[in-house]
Structure formats: C-alpha cells, structure tokens
C-alpha cells in the first residue's frame, strides 16, 4: 500500500524535528513494515516550468519547431520541439539537461543532454506528460501533444515538482504486515498510528448530521452478511474532472483519476479505508435491497465480465436485478456514466469472510474487496460519510441530498479485556509503571481503568473486529509502544535431559553422514510428488499411491510411494553432465495401505516411512563393479551407523530391477529394502542409455539403532600370519557362497585358517569355456607358534583338495604375497 506523507499531514501535524528516517524505523518496529520511502520530487529533478515566448520554424525539419522558452528570470533558451499544440505564452514542462525522461513514454529512463536536433542546438526538451510519468494526470489522444501547464499558477523557473505540488514522500508499506490491521488501510488509520507512536494530536472528522430528507428505503435482507448500509441520494451533479490536488493525491498513491464523482469515492476510500460506491440513481429501478444472490443469477460487472452467481454471494440489487457484487465490484448497468447527474452513494459494512470468498470465487481482487475482507469496523462509515459529503459540497455548487438512509441494526460493541498487571509483567519480563501503561494504551484509543492488579481495557471500535481480543494482544500493544528493544535480554538457564540420547533421531544423521563422507555419495533433495513418466517407468503397478488434489502440474499428482522414481529422474538429469556418480536421498515415502492416529484419535494419517535410497551410476558394462560397490555400501552400513545387522535374500523382486541382479534386504524375516540393477526397460523409459544404474532403498524406520557403540576388542596376533592366494577354476554356476562355505568347512577353534576373502573373479581367454577363475585369499597362522612353510602349505593344500572334491575346482596357481600382513579390515573374522 502506498501512503502519501502530505496526505497524512492533513490529519496529524508532524513536527519538523521528527526525521523521516525515524518515522520509517519506528513505524516498522512497532506497526507495519515500511519497505521504502521515496521522495516523489526526486523524479522531477532538473524539470522546471517554462513559458514559450516565441516559436520559430526549424530550418532543417518541417515537423519540428524552435521554441524560445523562458526558463525563469528572463533566461530564454532555444528548445527544439516536435509537438503540435505549442503556443506563445503557453506554460510547458522543460526537462533541462540532466533530467531523466522516458522517450515517447516508452523504454527506460534516459538522461537528457544538451544536444543538437537536426542541426539545431536544443537546451533539453519540452515534455509530453507520458515522457515524465504524468500521463494518468494529463491524458491526451495525439501522442505529439505536449504538456500544457498554463492553468497552473506558477512562474517560469518554478520547479515542476513544486508547481504540481509533487514535493511529497511516498511510503511503500508491505501489505502482508497489514493483514491483521484493518484499521490501517487508509491514510487516516496510519495517521492515527503515527499520532499514537509519537504522541501527536490527531484531527477529527466533523460528523455529518442526518439530513431531513425522505428515506431511501434500503432493505437489509441478510443482516449476518451486511452490518450497516448508508445510502445517500445526491442530485445536481455532473461529469467533470475533480480538482487537480484530488486527482494528484489519488494518482500519487497508485490509482487513476476518472471524474469528480468516482474520484470522491476513491479519495474517501484511500483516506479512511472505507470503500464506497456510487450508483447512477436514474438507472436504479425502485429500491435497494442487500440480499443473497440466487443460484445462477447473472451479473455483468463494471469491467464487462458476466458472472453466474451462487447463493453464497451477497449482492446489492434493485427491484429487478443485482446492481453490485456487495463489497467487491460494481455493475456495469448502474455505474457512473458520462451523462450521470444523480447518484446513490453507498457506504456499507459487510461481513469479511463472505467478501473474501466471493472475491476469490470470481478472481476479482479489487481495492474495495481487499479492504472489506479484512473486517472493517462499521463506525468507519461515519467518517467516510462526513468526508464524502464535504467533498461533494465543495465540488458541486448545485449539489442537493434528496434521499438518505442508514441501516445499522446491531452496532458493533467495543471489546473489553481484563488483564492482570502481574501477568503482564511476567510475560514482558519487566515492570512498566501503571500510569505509563495507561498512557500508552490511551494514545492508541484504548480506555483503561486499573484497580490494584486488575486492568480493564476497552478496545476502540477500529480494533474491535478481531484484531485485539485477548490479554495476549495487550502484551503486544504494551510491548510495541514501549519498544521491543527496551527490554533487557535475559539468559536461558534451565537444563533439560531429553536431548542427551535420541538414537531414533540420530540414526538418520549417521546414515547420511556415512553415505556422504565414507561412501562418497552426494545427497540430493527432490519433491514429494513424482512425474507420471517416472512413476510408470519405475513402479508401473504401484498400488495405494496417494495423490494431490491440486497438483503442481497435471502429471505430478502422485506422492512418492518410493524414493526410486525421483532418484531415477535425478540420475537421468545428471547423466547430461557426468558419466559416473553416486547420489542418495533420505526422505519420507507415503502409502494409503494403512492409516493410524498416533496423536489424536480424530486424526487418520496414512502410512509414512522414512526411507533412504541411493544410486551408483557408471558405464553400461560396469554393472559388476557397481553391484559390488552398492552392496559394499549396504554391507558396511550397519557397522558404521551402529544398528543391528540385516541380511540379503531374494524374496520379492522390485518392479524396477533387472531379473538377474536384485536382492532384498531382510531383517527378522521382513523385507526392509532392496538392491538391484535398474532394468533395461525401466532405464530406457527413464531416458537412460548406455549406463548401468545400481539402486538401493532401505526403510530407515525399520532399523534398530544400538544404544551405543558395540565394537569388540580383539587381541592382536602374537605369531605371524601369512596371506596365501589361490586361484582355481570353477564351473560358471558355482557361487562364492558355496566356495566360502566349503573352505571354512568343519573348522575347529585351533585351526590354522584365520580368514578367507574373495579377491576377484576372471572369465576370459586364459580360462576354458564354461569356467571362471576365482582368486581366494587365505590368511593362515597359529595362535600358539610361528608356523613352518610346510605347515602353511599343508593348510592351503587341504583347502585346495576340499574345493576340488566338493566343487570340482582345478588349481591354477598359488602365491604367498607377503608375510605377517594385517587382515582386511572389512573381512569378518573366522
């Protein structure tokens, strides 16, 4: 909302020592957010009133003229001008070199120089209204019309801002900070707040006495939606412009002057915050009724849009049809027209919720609706009436009131709030003297009476429509008037133990830190909704999927039942820039499979589980490496995040997984996650080509965190251990699990075999068809002595024999790479 400081000064005298910066800061701290304070005159720097003393032809151009122009004190300059309406003696707006103008009213502002125009020197320019942002005040039809200021009482040389009364400051107030303060939606309201903050006197409106004229006979058919309706029939009017100062004020705060009648209604609204409407009374058939619209009743708005109304809408109707959408917008039929001479002026108060709903229903956001929907006090109609009637009287000599009615069945009562002064002190953290509290609240219009600890506060009408209604509101009023910065900071001391141990909360963090810092994965965030394309590609048959009723876009209605679809989208997107990468996400997934009420039995929330999912991405042939990488991440995860371990099994294939490479993650017999390669079809449907994508997803809520670390100390080996690698040929269908089980066989505690680990698998030219070579690392050593090489060989040979016998393996080679190596840190101890 724009506020003119000059306008404010009509109602409150701002002393010269009150600086603008302080006014802006204090208003921002205590009342509303002032986003900007602009000196309007700064836009008209280097612009003055000039008087054309002589018009000469331009030697090189037929359409241009040379205007000899007095720019003050007989300083006559040569200015080239292309206008069509110059005349000797005419007062014009001269933009001197340095002024900022908009050429032909278009494009960016440019600085005027001292330039030659078609070979002739020109001292700046003579402006059209649009070139200096004044078109709305001085409209024209031919674009070559220059601004004629002859009607203004200003000498040549007077600054343009001063001549037009534009030496004003415009405050820009953030509307959001005004939503709960309906009293501030007008200059008088802001003036009243300034008067309270700085303890300055506020001028009052003289009440308009009810005129002794016949009643208009307005009927309020729904008093729950219309609380007050003042109608005034005014005759002897005409369509003409309003005085320049009225036009200028309306324009300065962002509206457009129209004609005197409409300008009065807008001016009064901007001054008081009370919307008004004027109907052409010759076009109103019979009496006015404020009633609900009938279902499908048609209404043609002032802007030419035809609405089909519903019973929830409130209308102003004559005997035949609606003539206004109450509190929102006028109708076309009965509005002020070029031949209007009589009006019915409406000053009414409506119930706020209804206004908001109607305004939203027809997407009609008007200045009137934005005020009426905030909940204005009906008493404000009185000051609006007073101001409006005095303006009509001033502008129209022959004005006569010929009809009047004021329907106000149930006057709004002022709210009464009882506040304990001790309670107030406890909440403020400071004792403010009683008389200071009284004074501060009185300045805001509150009536205060104090009896011991009990304070009774009577709220002014303009704050009684919901804004101030409970004792906490009084804390705020006292605190802001006292100044938030004047309360001493006190430290917070109490101790609490709830934060010491929160394993369920910590597990998510441990997981994310493990994946990011140990596994080298990048964490991503995605939206909870999923594009249909990825849903269909990855989870084509998903059931119990929740969706949004008004989704961000038509193909983003599903709420993710799994993190995999959006993860695949992220993979697909990133493949544009990277060939190999690892990403993960930790977030909730949703399902309508079951509902529960954990906090309130009236509530019924769907199943929501926190999941973590990751993707390891590489070239199409790297699936083997990626599988081991992803599996390694999952195998090591329980150890590093301090949770109970899970195992891998094949129970149910995820829809997105390749038919060979997939496994489930199982805890206590329940599938809590999966690991697998994104199938070829799903890959292509996700737009992924020539890349292998290994995915995993795990239900974090199903994991059981250990209360503390569970590592166990293991004694260091006293005697050397030997690494002994054997490479053997196996049939292709022999699995590592079988090989491993065969090697450890029936191991006794003092056996010499300490560890077994997988080194690699090789298939290729040096290996016969139908076979694969597997290299196995044995760690051989005794707990009691240093072994001889015969003893080491003996242990290894027994294993080779066992593998040959049980799995039909053939030995390729053996090697003992190093003595006394440390065991592989991630290999389980035997």
């Amino acid at each position: 909302m724009k506020v003119s400081l000059n306008w404010i000064k009509d109602y409150v005298t701002i002393p010269p020592e009150l600086e603008l910066s302080r006014l802006v800061t204090d208003l921002t701290m205590a009342t509303v957010e002032v986003e900007d304070a602009t000196e309007l005159a700064s836009k008209y720097e280097n612009m003055v009133v000039g008087t054309i003393v002589e018009i000469l032809p331009h030697p090189n151009a037929d359409k241009l003229k040379i205007c000899m122009t007095d720019i003050g004190g007989g300083d006559i300059r040569k200015i080239v001008c292309g206008g069509i309406n110059m005349a000797t003696g005419m007062k014009v707006a001269v933009a001197r070199p340095g002024a900022m103008v908009r050429w032909h009213g278009e494009g960016d502002l440019v600085a005027i120089g001292n330039a030659k125009v078609r070979g002739e020197e020109s001292y700046g320019m003579i402006c059209a209204s649009s070139e200096i942002g004044l078109f709305d005040l001085f409209p024209y039809t031919d674009e070559a019309t220059i601004l004629d200021l002859s009607a203004f009482d200003a000498q040549a040389g007077t600054s343009l801002a001063q001549a037009l009364g534009l030496d004003d400051i415009i405050l820009e107030i953030d509307n959001k900070s005004l939503t709960n303060r309906p009293d501030l939606w007008g200059h008088y309201g802001i003036a009243r707040e300034i008067s309270a903050l700085f303890d300055l006197p506020l001028s009052e409106f003289k009440p308009y006495p009810p005129p002794g004229v016949p009643s208009l006979g307005v009927e309020l058919a729904d008093t729950t939606r219309c609380f007050r309706y003042i109608g005034v029939k005014i005759e002897g009017l005409s369509i003409k412009p309003s005085p320049f100062e009225v036009q200028s004020r309306i324009w300065r705060v962002g509206m457009r002057p129209i004609n005197a009648i409409v300008d009065i209604t807008n001016y009064v609204m901007l001054a008081t915050g009370q919307p008004l409407h004027a109907f052409d009374s010759d076009r109103v058939n019979g009496h006015i009724t404020v009633r609900r619209a009938q279902e499908s009743e048609n209404f043609l708005m002032l802007n030419g849009i035809e609405l089909s109304l519903c019973n929830e809408d409130l209308v102003i109707a004559d005997d035949i049809e609606p003539i206004g959408l109450a509190g929102v917008k006028g109708g076309e039929k009965d509005s002020v027209l070029p031949d209007t001479q009589k009006v019915i002026l409406e000053i009414a108060n409506f119930e706020a919720i209804g206004i908001r709903r109607t305004s939203a229903r027809y997407e009609t956001r008007t200045e009137a609706a934005s005020r009426n929907e905030k909940g204005i006090d009906p008493q404000r109609c009185d000051i609006a009436l007073s101001l409006a009637m005095s303006m009509f009287a001033e502008m129209f000599d022959k004005m006569a009131v010929t009809g009047y009615s004021d329907n106000y069945p149930v006057p709004l009562e002022r709210k009464k709030i009882d506040v304990s002064l001790d309670w107030l002190e406890k909440n403020l953290g400071k004792r403010i003297p009683d008389d200071e509290i009284s004074r501060m609240l009185a300045r805001l219009g509150f009536d205060v009476s104090i009896d011991g600890d009990a304070m009774r506060v009577v709220v002014p009408t303009w704050r009684s429509t919901g804004d101030v209604s409970i004792p906490n509101d009084i804390i705020e009023e006292v605190a802001r008037m006292h100044g938030f910065d004047r309360f001493d900071a006190t430290s917070i001391t109490a101790t609490f133990e709830g934060s010491i141990n929160q394993p369920k909360i910590d597990i998510d963090r441990k997981l994310r830190e493990y994946l990011a810092t140990r596994c080298g994965m990048n964490e991503i965030y995605t939206y909870p909704w999923v594009l249909d394309a990825y849903m269909n590609a990855v989870l084509p048959d998903a059931d119990s999927v929740l969706s949004i009723s008004t989704p961000p876009s038509p193909d983003e209605r599903y709420l993710r039942p799994s993190l995999i679809p959006n993860l695949c989208k992220a993979v697909s997107d990133n493949l544009r820039y990277y060939d190999e990468f690892k990403i993960f996400e930790s977030a909730q997934v949703f399902s309508s499979r079951s509902f529960s009420a954990e906090y309130d039995k009236r509530e019924s929330l769907p199943l929501q589980r926190r999941n973590v999912a990751g993707a390891c991405v590489g070239g199409a042939e790297s699936y083997g490496v990626l599988y081991r990488e992803a599996k390694g991440i999952l195998e090591t995860l329980p150890r590093f995040t301090h949770i109970e371990p899970y195992s891998f099994d094949r129970i149910i294939k995820p829809a997105w997984a390749d038919s060979v490479i997939w496994q489930n993650i199982v805890l206590d017999g329940t599938v809590i996650g999966s690991l697998g390669l994104l199938s070829k079809k799903a890959s292509l449907d996700c737009g992924i080509k020539n890349s292998a994508v290994m995915l995993f997803e795990l239900d974090i809520d199903a994991l059981t965190p250990y209360p503390s670390r569970t590592n166990k100390f293991e004694r260091l080996a006293e005697y050397p251990h030997t690494d002994y690698d054997i490479s053997m040929l196996f049939d292709l269908n022999v699995r590592w699990e079988e090989i491993y089980n065969s090697i450890i066989g029936k191991k006794s505690p003092d056996d010499l075999l300490r560890h077994v680990s997988f080194v690699d698998e090789y298939r290729g030219r040096q290996v016969p068809a139908g076979k694969k070579s597997i290299t196995i690392r044995l760690v051989i050593g005794s707990l009691k002595k240093t072994l001889t090489s015969d003893e080491i060989e003996g242990c290894a040979n027994a294993i080779v024999k066992r593998l040959t016998k049980t799995l039909g393996a053939d030995l390729r080679s053996t090697a003992s790479p190093a003595q006394g190596r440390e065991q592989e840190p991630n290999q389980a101890s035997l």
């Binding site: 205590a30 909440n427 403020l428 802001r480």
Partner: protein, 345 residues
C-alpha cells in the same frame, strides 16, 4: 710462508663446512688438493724453498693435505646422508589425489549445524511426518475457519480427502508449526525442542519462491519465559551459523499462532548495517517470524495458557542457506544437480 699456510687452513676449513652438496664439495676439494689446488701449489714450491725451511713447510703442508682430505671425507659422508634420492625435478605443483567426493545437501548441513547448537542448549529434536491434517495444520493453531491459507491456493490437499474436515482432511503440511502440538501432547512441560522438516505450499515458483521448502522451528514452553530471553537464544544461533556476533532486532509482526508476534531481523552482514542493495538499504534483513504461542495453541496442546508461556521461532533454512552461500536461485536446492550440490563440502 707460514702465514700463507695458515690462511689456506682458515679459508679451506670454511669452504668445506659451507659446501652444501657433494658437487660443491668436489669443487672445494679441487681448489685445495687438485692439480692447481692451493695446497698442491705449496707442495710444488717446496723444492724451491730455502733448505732450512723445506722440512718444516713440507711437513706442515702434508699435514694440511691430510687434514683437508679427512675433513672433506667427513663432510661428504655428512652430505650424502642428508641428500635425497629423489630427482630434483620432482614436480611439487602436481595436485593431490582427492578423497571421496560426496557431500551432504547444503540444507542438511545447515540443519545439522542448528541441531548441534540447539542440543548444546538442551533442546530435543522432534520429527513429524510430511503428510498432516487440517486438524494439526490449522485447527489447533488458531487459524480462523476462513483463513485464506486454508484454501487450496496455499495448501496441497490430498485427493479424495480434500472435502473432509479436521483430522481426516489430509495435506502435505504447509508449515511445521503443527508438529509443536504433537510434541506437547506427548511430553510434559517445561520443555524445549526443535522440529526441522520439509513443508509444501501451492505457489508459483521463481528464483525466490519454491513449492517445497525446509523449515526449522524451535519452541520453549515454560512457566516463565520472556521474549527478551528469546532474543538471546536467536543471537546464539546466528553466531554459530555465521561464525561471528550478529546484531538482532525484533519488531511487530502478525502470525495467527503467536501473540505477541515478531518479525526478527538480523543486521546485514554484507554492509554491516550501513545499507546496501542486499538489505534494500535499511541495514537489516528479515530473517524469521517468532513470538509467544497463542493461548489457543497451548490449549490445543492440553496446556493451561494461564500457567504456561513460551517462545517460538521459525527459521526458513532455504533462505538462510541462500544467504550463507549467496545462492541466487532457490530452485537449485531441489534440482538434484550435482554441478550445484558438489560445491558444498
């Protein structure tokens, strides 16, 4: 002649000690004991000397030669032990091998920084699910029945539940504040806790607006708690995030679930409060709303507003992270774009 020998001894010893590598030492050796070396020169001159002096000078010169030889050998050994076997053209400007390249999302990092700070002040961490209901998103929080935020303009209602009421009208939570009531219903006051999480609003997006955002709320409930104590709390948090003392001011602000309500501003870190384009020339940046929980909210949580009061703040993490790193477009946070995410280590 004697003086000459003494001079050779002095300068020779100096040269040997000062040789910094074996090559230099070799040069020193040549200059002393080589064919043209100063000691050799003396020895060459001996035959031409007066006979009476020959023996003495010869002896002294030979002693000097032995002394230098010994000293050079010792110095050579000393130098060769110190010397590197690495070629001297080893390139030290080659970059190091980088460890794993993963990183937490910058908002997660901010969230954890805050968790650490709040925990050090005794705050518990609480989590609520993303899907909530009208009961917790609005009814419990003193949102009037006609509050515009209830209309689909702002809240994502779930299909099939949008026409139900209260606890059965499901939505993606439009803010986190509902979680505070859940916590208070299951814990006894006094308490202090934070509840970070994602919230969603049906808005059009641009560089400064998102449909999904990450919020962080903190709530203290106690028998006595003044907003000036809250200000201390906020200052502590900001000094943790920005690594230095940050000025804070509170001014009036309106939110349905608090009374009184505040807008909390921090001093602009770019200009130090002098005014710049970042802070729109006011020296302050709007940071977060806060306030005392509205009595109706306390009642919804089963607490007596005459007995309990509190302090609440809501921190928008997206915005805070944007300020921390000067990120220009909020939509990057949910783009999953590794070119962006991999910058925050």
């Amino acid at each position: 002649m004697k003086e000459k020998l003494e001079e050779i001894l002095r300068s020779g010893e100096e040269k040997i000690t000062q040789a910094i590598n074996t090559i230099e030492l070799q040069d020193v050796k040549a200059s002393l004991l080589g064919k043209m070396g100063s000691v050799t020169e003396i020895l060459k001159e001996i035959p031409r000397l007066d006979a009476s002096m020959r023996a003495e000078i010869g002896k002294a010169a030979n002693k000097l030669k032995d002394h230098f030889t010994e000293m050079i050998d010792a110095r050579r050994e000393e130098l060769s032990l110190k010397a590197s076997e690495i070629p001297t053209d080893f390139d030290l400007t080659v970059p190091g091998l980088q460890p794993h390249g993963g990183a937490l999302h910058p908002i997660t990092q901010m969230c954890y920084d805050l968790n650490d700070t709040f925990r050090s002040m005794g705050f518990e961490i609480f989590e609520e699910s993303d899907i909530s209901s009208e009961l917790y998103a609005f009814d419990n929080l003193n949102f009037p029945a006609d509050h515009p935020a209830r209309e689909s303009m702002d809240t994502y209602w779930l299909a099939g539940y949008e026409d139900k009421r209260g606890g059965e009208r499901l939505c993606l939570r439009p803010h986190l504040t509902g979680a505070s009531v859940r916590y208070l219903q299951t814990h006894n006051p006094p308490c202090r806790f934070v509840y970070p999480g994602r919230a969603y609003r049906n808005e059009s997006t641009d560089a400064r607006h998102e449909r999904a955002f990450y919020q962080y709320e903190a709530l203290i409930i106690d028998r006595e708690f003044t907003f000036s104590a809250g200000k201390v709390m906020i200052k502590s948090i900001l000094s943790k995030i920005f690594g230095r003392d940050v000025p804070v001011r509170m001014r009036v602000g309106f939110f349905p679930f608090v009374e009184p309500g505040f807008e909390i501003d921090m001093g602009c870190l770019v200009c130090g409060g002098a005014g710049c384009s970042v802070c729109k020339h006011v020296g302050w940046i709007e940071l977060m709303p806060g306030g005392t929980p509205h009595p109706n909210v306390l009642r919804a949580a089963g607490l007596d507003p005459n007995e309990y009061t509190g302090f609440y703040v809501n921190i928008g993490l997206d915005r805070l992270v944007m300020m921390r790193y000067e990120v220009s477009d909020v939509r990057l946070f949910r783009s999953a774009d590794l070119r962006f995410l991999s910058q925050f280590k």
